[in-house]
Amino acid sequence: MKKAEEIFELIKSGFPGVTVELSADMPTEPIISVDPLKVHEICKFLRDNEDCKFDSLMNLSGVDDANGEKIKEEDDSEIIKGGTLSVYYHLHSMSLNHKITLRASAPRENPEVESVDNVWKAADWHEREAYDMCGIKFLNHYDLRRILMPYDWEDGSYPLRKDYKNPEFYNGMKVPY
């Protein structure tokens, strides 16, 4: 049983030169922010380290942080420029019974995060869902396809982005009723 602070120290000492941050001001759970291009290494470390043993990935969620510049379009809709998209990892150790939340934020224009699907197989479908819904690209994922939306859904159209607009037509069918 370890606290988030201790795990944070472990990561920090294990990966010198990698930006990690701890935000403990959240009301319910502290979050460790990590570099999106080092996620795989850190996760592997967290899984295999004797003091951490995070053997299960409870949840992986893609989130549009919507913290960029909001630009009004002519038709009164908004698009967001800049800012980040984040991936939240909720890890849990069944043997040591402690939990931790990681966050990897990638720039909105080129959201690339390393895939962790060979650390925990559970990440496979979750990452596909995050890709499908938020457009986060997981590097080294073996089979990054859309999962919930149709395979031929318009490229670059990701429903869970805050500035998502319904396409007018899908395969010749009118989309908004």
Partner: protein
């Protein structure tokens, strides 16, 4: 000269009697042997998470009903305690008890459907209807409490929509008395049936480490021999007050983690749920259920991940609040979604009939997979 052969690609679903909804499995077959299974999901996708962003917190509750529609009560349960955790609300004792009672009744009802349809997948029609007959009694109790039979919207943030019906406690006790012998009947009719055992033992074995790596939870994980139940191991609500056991797969008929174990763990869990019910009904305190209802549900900025032991496994709600009336992001970790992802691993090298048996033993609900 070797004969050139080619695998047969068979599309099981989206319209198929035993995919339990609109699931499509792209199966590569070598004769009747399964070489590879590729699940395609999303036929029931309603983008619940996008809807949730445009709704206020209480308005999301009816949407949670529609995910795992066989365990709506439990979906409500998980969501409301997540929001309560975010807001720091303490609910009255009576509310906690009623939630547990409803949750456990729902677990029994959900397992009934799981076991019944499993029999159906293997060609035994009768147990299915026997179990539906008994499930009817639970639904009647739900109906007299909140007016709905499938989608309840019963649990509210900080309280409940209605107090229990005066007859409820009596009916619940009667149900327990009535249902105990019926489990024995089910066991005699289906569980220990020779053909049933032949069909399910040693089929689709899921080793414990694979299960953990895939994030498998619920009865499926327990059938693999892992003693893990969130009600005990990461307790929430008032589950730490009750005395109950966690049934674990022991490979009575075959290998630990086979289809028979997954089936039997559910049978045993119904008994444990009834034990919890009995204790909860005995201890049920009086009180006002609405005393903790907040005037306005507006959680502070923050994130919460709350998981509960849904009948099918770990149901997690990840809620990000930006301090407004609407949730900024609601992500649901559905147990069926994660549990289904292991199907290729389980069914490789089995016959096509076993694929159906394996799929049935996972107990999926497409409403939750596709959300």
């Amino acid at each position: 000269m070797a004969l050139r052969t080619e695998e047969l690609i068979l599309n099981v679903g989206p319209q198929h009697p035993s995919t339990h909804g609109v699931l499509r499995l792209e199966v590569e077959l070598e004769g009747e042997l399964v070489v590879k299974v590729k699940p395609h999901i999303g036929y029931l996708h309603r983008c619940f998470e996008k809807h949730a962003e445009a709704m206020t917190y209480p308005q999301v509750i009816p949407y949670t009903d529609r995910m795992d529609y066989l365990a709506s009560m439990y979906n409500n349960f998980g969501y409301v305690i997540a929001v309560e955790k975010l807001m720091g609300i303490e609910v009255p004792e009576r509310v906690e008890y009623i939630r547990v009672i409803m949750g456990e009744l729902q677990r029994i009802a959900s397992h009934m459907v799981a076991l019944g349809t499993y029999g159906l997948d293997l060609g035994a029609f009768t147990p299915f209807l026997y179990l539906f007959r008994d499930r009817e009694k639970i639904l009647t109790m739900f109906e007299m409490t909140c007016g709905a039979r499938l989608l309840y919207n019963y649990m509210w943030v900080g309280g409940l929509s209605h107090d229990l019906h005066p007859d409820f406690v009596r009916l619940a006790r009667e149900f327990i008395q009535y249902f105990r012998p019926n489990i024995v009947e089910l066991n005699n009719l289906l569980t220990y049936n020779k053909i049933f055992i032949e069909r399910t033992a040693h089929i689709g074995i899921l080793p414990a480490d694979t299960a953990i790596n895939y994030g498998i939870t619920g009865p499926m994980l327990r059938a693999s021999g892992v003693n893990w139940d969130l009600r005990k191991n990461d307790t929430y609500s008032i589950y730490n007050r009750f005395d109950f056991d966690i049934p674990v797969g022991q490979g009575h008929m075959g290998t630990v983690g086979d289809c028979w174990d997954r089936y039997y763990v559910r049978v045993l869990e119904m008994e444990q749920s009834m034990r919890i019910l009995e204790q909860a009904l005995d201890q049920l305190p009086e009180g006002d259920i609405n005393s903790a209802l907040p005037k306005r549900i507006k959680p502070p900025v923050g994130t919460v991940y709350q998981r509960v032991e849904n009948p099918k496994g770990e149901l997690g709600y990840f809620i990000i609040s930006d301090g407004s009336l609407n949730p900024f992001r609601v992500k649901v970790r559905g147990p069926s979604f994660v549990n289904l992802s292991v199907i290729n691993e389980l069914s490789r090298g089995h016959l096509i009939a076993d694929l159906i048996a394996i799929l049935g033993s996972i107990d999926i609900v497409l409403g939750e997979i596709d959300r």
